[in-house]
């Protein structure tokens, strides 16, 4: 290939570029403007050795020549320093390359292993990289392929046959996983999921990187993923609406950085082959100081003692001879794996199965049931069958299983079998971490991992694979580590970059494996359980889950907490074993499970549909068994499942009530059209502003409740992707209002919120208070109208009048001070009436619950959490689980604030503390706190709300919500809560 160098730097010399990314190394040699050599290889974290090998392989080409060389890439920095070679930042190198080879390109999108970059050439050079949150890159695609149980190539091919795209969170790999899991479990096709994953990557790039700049003109696509994945290319081209001429996928896509580095090197010092290899050899010797930890085992004997000790916790799992008699089947249809055991009356296990779901749990269970019937034939009398896990409903319906039980109960039942006095269970699976504390023989508290505490088993698995090992081999490597590297504990993406750092510093595979095990353990202890000392966990600890079959992880855990724990030999099967035990406890004469013939004849089809029950338009998956039995999933309420409730049956739901109140405010024709974005603080103050503006003769246009579509409309202008979802929705609301051609958009800046005298101060959080400043600075489309965001004092009618008059009279004619005063008076009165209605409905809900003997759930969030797109129908889910749902503001009118350990300075949060106090005073009431991902304020409030509740022995449940929330996980949480309440007898 000919390299056109506009600056004519390399016409008569040889230049070499070395690009070392997070997973691969690339080398190019350009001789007299001709690319004479290029090579692309995975380096399996052996960065320095691999580079040397690659250079040695072209000894013939290089010997006797002098040339310049430069290194680039995120993992190349350390090596370049150690070898004393020139380094060039990779985005800069890319720009260098494109400037030479494609001078008329307008922008470049480059996706790498863990980085994503955008370069804009026209209209001022702008180069951007993803920030510290690195979802949506090559590593993410790798992880997703593993999750689907296909290779990258297969995923790519699958995606090309897709029929529809599902929404998948585009920011965080972890969130994306929680979105994909239910899709898999609900039977969505792999083709659709694969395409949806690519779409998520595209959205991430467009939203997270472009940040308000439109990607158009001639766009170059570079880097490994874009070179290999046709499906990903297709998604980009379609989303950006590019034609063939404007979407360029060059042959050298993999080598752009290396070419750029080579070009960059040309004005440097010339060296020869001997010097280059010598320098690389020196770099291999030079190991930088990295922080390491003591080895897992001092010596072989210590390891043997360890394995012997753990061998004691065994159940019989070897199937001996022909078993004849009663049997129980337990199935754990988990998020990534399906586990199944067949157990005898004496609790011996005669059949086990453990495997990845491969995206279709129904066919896996059918296969296994067939196998069981073939193996045992008529010898088995199946007297009970139970299923647990994410896929519980699906499997239960498909196979007519007797019982379904919530995961937490299944695990507790199994753990009790090994240690009847167990007081703490830690389960680390492929995708999630679950911890339960046991008190008085019932589950006392449940902790699950969240977005930023997500390092689990699949994480180790993905790493093992990327380094070319099986999980088992990788674990064995870890055990022999002499100096495990310290990798930090935040989210998997951050761990990825820690590994990168360790690779850069030359850490061995053994040390990385041990380091990863320790990270997973520390993540569980300090992030999920949040313990400060081992005593907080408990005295009798049972650990389980597939990840604990990894001895390195088990050892790390014991070392970290300084206590010996029980790991059953069936650690990976505990859920299924627990289900079998449950079935045995509730044995029937004969199980209702499908018989051999019925299993053979089972037909399962699934198709997707959109629910038309309300404006939510839930995406449904309709599973059809044998053409007649239906199971609908994906619905947020009973309507999707085709159930119609009469008014008396409907439980009070303050969230729905508040939504109805807001919808009742209708616009009246007026002189001017003013737009109110229904987001953040507007949710609570809408009655006030609507009344004020209507009184002043404005036609008030609301942007309405949020939808996913609305979000996407404004997504491209979000400058800070880590802000909370309720804030990011604001951009879509503004766009919606602009489409209505309003004369002005109004969202006031309110440092101080309504003073309800419930705290030390009455602030808004910084985002609610000042988001308008951000909108004004980042939404170009706002220039089409007037954007009014005055700083107002809403606690004084006089001051509010003064502020509003000042603002409005500057923009509109015929605004009289007296009219504003009157409008403000009416507005404040209306706001008070509005709150009064909420208080009254709160009372009615509580009384209804008493009269009908229902449980009350305080779904404690902020006023804007009632938005259906923000709370994702959790309120409806709660009523479907037989809770009366009240909001934090509806029951706290006359609650004085509780004694606190923190500064109580935000109005919305003061209500939450008061609501927690209310919950402690009412036996029938539970508090569930909704927390938006990225909410800095809630880092303070969650701990405090929990403390208030636990002081009075109440259960605390927290649900983190974001762009997308996995309702399946929420359901498990709420059902576990109900289970725990029932065991406590309350």
């Amino acid at each position: 290939m000919k390299i056109q160098d506009s600056k004519n730097r390399i016409s008569d010399s040889m230049v070499i570029g070395i690009d070392i990314g997070s997973t691969t190394a690339k080398v190019v040699v350009i001789d007299k403007g001709e690319m004479v050599y290029s090579r692309y290889e995975r380096h399996f974290s052996q960065v320095r050795r691999k580079t040397l090998e690659m250079i040695e392989a072209i000894a013939d080409l290089l010997s006797g020549r002098s040339f310049t060389v430069a290194v680039s890439g995120s993992a190349g920095l350390g090596m370049a320093d150690a070898a004393g070679l020139r380094f060039v930042q990779e985005v800069y190198a890319t720009a260098e390359c494109v400037r030479c080879l494609e001078p008329d390109a307008d922008s470049v999108i480059e996706l790498g292993g863990e980085d994503a970059k955008i370069i804009f050439f026209k209209g001022g050079l702008d180069e951007r990289m993803n920030g510290s949150c690195a979802g949506g890159t090559g590593a993410f695609i790798d992880q997703m392929a593993t999750l689907l149980g296909v290779s990258n190539t297969e995923m790519d091919e699958l995606s090309l046959t897709h029929e529809q795209i599902y929404p998948i969170a585009s920011r965080c790999g972890v969130f994306a996983k929680t979105d994909i899991q239910p899709l898999i479990n609900q039977g969505a096709t792999k083709a659709d999921i694969a395409a949806s994953i690519y779409q998520a990557v595209v959205n991430q790039t467009v939203a997270g990187l472009a940040q308000g700049r439109r990607i158009d003109g001639k766009v170059m696509f570079l880097g490994g993923p874009l070179y290999y994945c046709k499906g990903l290319r297709e998604r980009f081209v379609e989303t950006l609406k590019l034609d063939d001429e404007h979407a360029v996928f060059p042959e050298y896509a993999l080598f752009a950085v290396a070419i750029g580095a080579a070009l960059y090197s040309s004005d440097g010092r010339e060296i020869d082959y001997e010097e280059l290899t010598e320098r690389l050899r020196i770099s291999m010797k030079h190991r930088e100081t990295i922080s390491t930890l003591p080895p897992l085992f001092r010596d072989r004997t210590e390891y043997q003692a360890f394995t012997t000790r753990h061998a004691a916790h065994n159940v019989q799992t070897e199937y001996q001879g022909d078993y004849k008699g009663d049997a129980y089947i337990g199935i754990d249809c988990g998020s990534t794996t399906t586990k199944l055991v067949v157990m005898t009356d004496r609790c011996e296990i005669i059949y086990t199965y453990y495997s990845s779901n491969k995206g279709n749990p129904v066919s896996i269970v059918r296969e296994q049931m067939n196998k069981i019937y073939d193996l045992f034939g008529k010898n088995l009398t199946i007297r009970g069958c139970a299923v647990t896990g994410y896929g519980e409903e699906l499997i239960r319906t498909a196979f007519h299983i007797d019982y379904g039980l919530v995961e937490t109960m299944a695990h507790y039942t199994a753990a009790k079998f090994f240690d009847k006095d167990v007081d703490f269970i830690l389960d680390i699976g492929g995708q999630d971490i679950k911890c339960f504390k046991i008190r008085n023989n019932s589950i006392d508290s449940i902790m699950l991992n969240e977005a930023c505490s997500s390092g689990c088993g699949s994480f180790i698995e993905t790493f093992a694979k990327s380094m070319g090992y099986t999980v088992e081999e990788f674990a064995r490597q870890g055990i022999t580590s002499h100096a495990p590297v310290d990798l930090g504990t935040r989210c998997t993406v951050f761990m990825n970059s820690s590994v990168k750092q360790a690779q850069k510093d030359g850490a061995s595979v053994q040390d990385i494996s041990a380091g990863l095990s320790l990270s997973v353990v520390k993540n569980a202890i300090y992030k999920v359980i949040r313990a400060t000392s081992p005593d907080e966990l408990g005295q009798r600890i049972v650990v389980q889950g597939g990840t604990f079959m990894n001895d390195a992880v088990l050892r790390c855990f014991e070392k970290e907490i300084g206590r010996e724990v029980v790991r059953p030999n069936i650690a990976g099967l505990m859920g299924a074993f627990g289900a079998a035990l449950f079935a045995r406890e509730h044995k029937k004469d004969i199980s209702s499970v499908l018989n051999a013939e019925e299993v053979r004849n089972l037909r399962h089809e699934s198709r997707s549909a959109v629910c038309k029950g309300c404006t939510n338009n839930c995406r449904l998956t309709v599973n059809l068994f044998n053409g007649k039995e239906r199971l609908i999933s994906g619905n947020q309420c009973e309507k999707g499942a085709g159930i119609r409730l009469s008014d008396d049956e409907r439980l009070p739901n303050l969230y729905a009530f508040k939504r109805d109140l807001l919808e009742a405010y209708q616009p009246q024709k007026g002189r001017y059209k003013i737009g109110l974005p229904l987001a953040l603080g507007m949710y609570e103050l809408y009655p006030l502003w609507h009344t004020v503006f209507t009184q002043l003769g404005f036609e008030v246009v609301s942007s309405g409740f949020s939808t996913r579509k609305l979000y996407q409309k404004g997504q491209f202008s979000i400058p800070s992707d880590t802000a909370c979802y309720p804030a990011k929705l604001m951009h879509g609301h503004i766009e919606t209002l602009l489409d209505e051609n309003v004369d002005a958009v109004f969202y006031p800046s309110l440092t101080y919120n309504i003073n309800e005298n419930k705290g030390d101060n009455h602030y808004n959080c910084p985002v609610v208070a000042y988001y308008s400043e951000l909108l004004a600075g980042n939404m170009d489309s706002l220039s089409r109208t007037r954007f009014l965001y005055p700083y107002l004092n809403i606690n004084s009618e006089k001051e509010l009048t003064r502020g509003l008059y000042g603002c409005l009279s500057a923009h509109f004619e015929g605004i009289a001070p007296a009219a504003v005063r009157k409008a403000v008076r009416e507005g404040v009165a209306e706001y008070k009436r509005h709150m009064g209605r909420i208080y009254a409905e709160g009372k009615r809900a509580v009384e209804f619950a008493k009269a009908h003997n229902k449980r009350v759930m305080i779904l404690a969030g902020r006023p804007y959490h009632i938005d259906p797109e923000i709370c994702h129908g959790i309120d409806k889910l709660a009523t479907s689980l037989d809770f009366v749902v009240v909001s934090e503001d509806s029951i706290t009118e006359d609650i004085t604030p509780p004694v606190l350990n923190v500064l109580n300075q935000w109005t919305y949060h003061s209500r939450m503390y008061a609501a927690a106090k209310y919950a402690t005073e009412h036996d029938d009431t539970q508090l569930v706190q909704l927390v938006s991902f990225g909410c800095g304020v809630d880092a303070v409030t969650t701990d405090e709300v929990r403390a208030i509740l636990e002081r009075y022995d109440k259960l605390y449940t927290q649900i983190k919500i974001d762009e997308i929330t996995n309702l399946g996980a929420v359901r498990i949480r709420l059902r576990s809560l109900i289970g725990a309440l029932e065991e406590r007898g309350s």
Binding site: S74, Y526, P766, V767, E773, P898, V940
Partner: protein, 416 residues
């Protein structure tokens, strides 16, 4: 006011023999400022440790979504308590508290919780605040003490400002830092005598100090690429918080420019005036603030003028009143939580001084910085073509390599 759980007060008796631990954000400033306390008989000890497991300790004791500065400060304090160097029954902690709408006002409560969790509930935590948030009978700051602290802050700013401009150009490596140490020692010694804290003497010291720094720089042309550092106050200033950002920049051959600490004080004071202007609340506070603002401004301008007249080879301190006005057309003066409008103002101040390359540092998920930092980059770049800003997130899981790689990208554009 919400009723608070009882907290341990720092009593008069404790003043006698308790050691007060203070976390450092700005080593020079904090040393000088707390020296005022030492001269009043308090026993103060600084925490300057930056060893590896501060983050880990922090993570152990506070919520992992808590902002990174809180996590570091608490980790540092907990490590010190556990180090065995102190008598745990004769120990107190001091932490600053602003009382604004940012969650930083809750650090002190998080710290108390952490202490309780670790079984040190008996250790008193003193809140250093000027809003009357808490009272400790054994810990009072009088007006004369405040004046002195103020001079110390000015000393610190002047020293930091000049040292930053000398360091990249010094001929004998290490001489700037040696001079900083020498002057810090000298001031610590001198300030024990209250007479040395009279303004006249302070002004003399400004000159002497400036002369010494000017001798290092000489007439060297400060021609290296200049990179401004702004952001959340702790990660902006503290090497522990920003992974030694300044030394990294020096090793890359650029001159770091860091707006001073007094700016933040002036910003806090000015917000007292704004509350009245916008909402007509707290008249008295506004009146006091106005007075204090003018007073501080005068002291600041004295140094600025001195630098302009006598040390033209240095970039002088910014005139805060001018800096403040720069935000017009970008962000409202009412945006006052956290660093609020000051962050935007400082970026614009730097741009105005020709420092077109800016690193905006922030803890991951810092709420005010979504708006005043990342949210203002687009308008700043649009209205000032050629400005090169990069936002860098700091948190316990972020690795130096990721941060450095992004800074390097910014630098390669800066140099090109």
């Amino acid at each position: 006011m919400t009723e608070k759980s009882e907290y341990i007060k720092f009593t008069k008796e404790m003043k006698r023999d308790y050691t007060i631990l203070v976390p450092t954000m700005l080593p020079i400033h904090f040393k000088l400022i707390s020296n005022v306390l030492v001269s009043k008989g308090y026993k103060i000890d600084f925490l300057e440790a930056t060893d590896g497991d501060i983050k880990e300790s922090g993570l152990r004791y506070v919520h992992n979504d808590t902002c990174y500065p809180a996590l570091l400060v608490i980790g540092q304090l907990m490590n010190a308590i556990n180090s065995g160097r102190y008598d745990k029954d004769k120990l107190a902690l001091l932490i600053t508290q602003t009382g604004g709408g940012c969650r930083a006002s809750n650090y002190i409560y998080l710290l108390r919780k952490a202490l309780k969790k670790a079984g040190y509930g008996h250790i008193p935590v003193i809140s250093l605040n000027f809003g009357g948030l808490e009272h400790h009978p054994g810990f009072k700051i009088s007006v004369p003490m405040l004046y002195k602290m103020l001079y110390c802050a000015f000393y610190g700013d002047l020293m930091m400002l000049m040292a930053n401009q000398c360091r990249p150009y010094e001929k004998n490596p290490g001489e700037t830092d040696a001079l900083v140490r020498q002057w810090t020692e000298r001031l610590l010694e001198e300030n024990r005598d209250p007479r040395n804290m009279r303004y006249k003497h302070v002004k003399e010291n400004y000159r002497l100090m400036a002369d010494d720094f000017a001798a290092i720089l000489g007439d060297t042309v400060r021609d290296k690429v200049k990179v401004g550092i702004v952001g959340e106050i702790y990660v902006k200033f503290s090497p522990l918080g920003n992974n030694n950002l300044e030394s990294f920049l020096l090793s890359e051959g650029v001159e770091p420019v860091v707006p001073g600490f007094v700016d933040f004080c002036l910003y806090c004071v000015y917000n007292g005036i704004v509350d009245f202007d916008l909402y007509h609340i707290r008249h008295l506070k506004a009146f006091g603030s106005k007075f204090l603002y003018k007073y501080l401004l005068k002291k600041l301008r004295y140094i600025r003028t001195m630098m302009q007249e006598h040390y033209p080879n240095f970039m002088p301190m910014a005139d805060f009143d001018e800096t403040r006005k720069k935000i017009d057309g970008y962000i409202g003066i009412g945006a006052k939580m956290g660093e609020g409008w000051l962050l935007t103002a400082e970026m614009l101040e730097l741009v105005g001084e020709g420092v077109n390359n800016i690193i905006c540092t922030q803890p991951f998920g810092c709420l005010p910085n979504h708006i005043a930092g990342k949210g203002m980059m687009k308008p700043i770049k649009e209205k000032n073509p050629g400005v090169n800003i990069v936002a860098i997130d700091y948190d316990p899981g972020a690795t130096a390599i990721n941060q450095e790689n992004r800074i390097k990208l910014m630098l390669s554009n800066a140099k090109a």
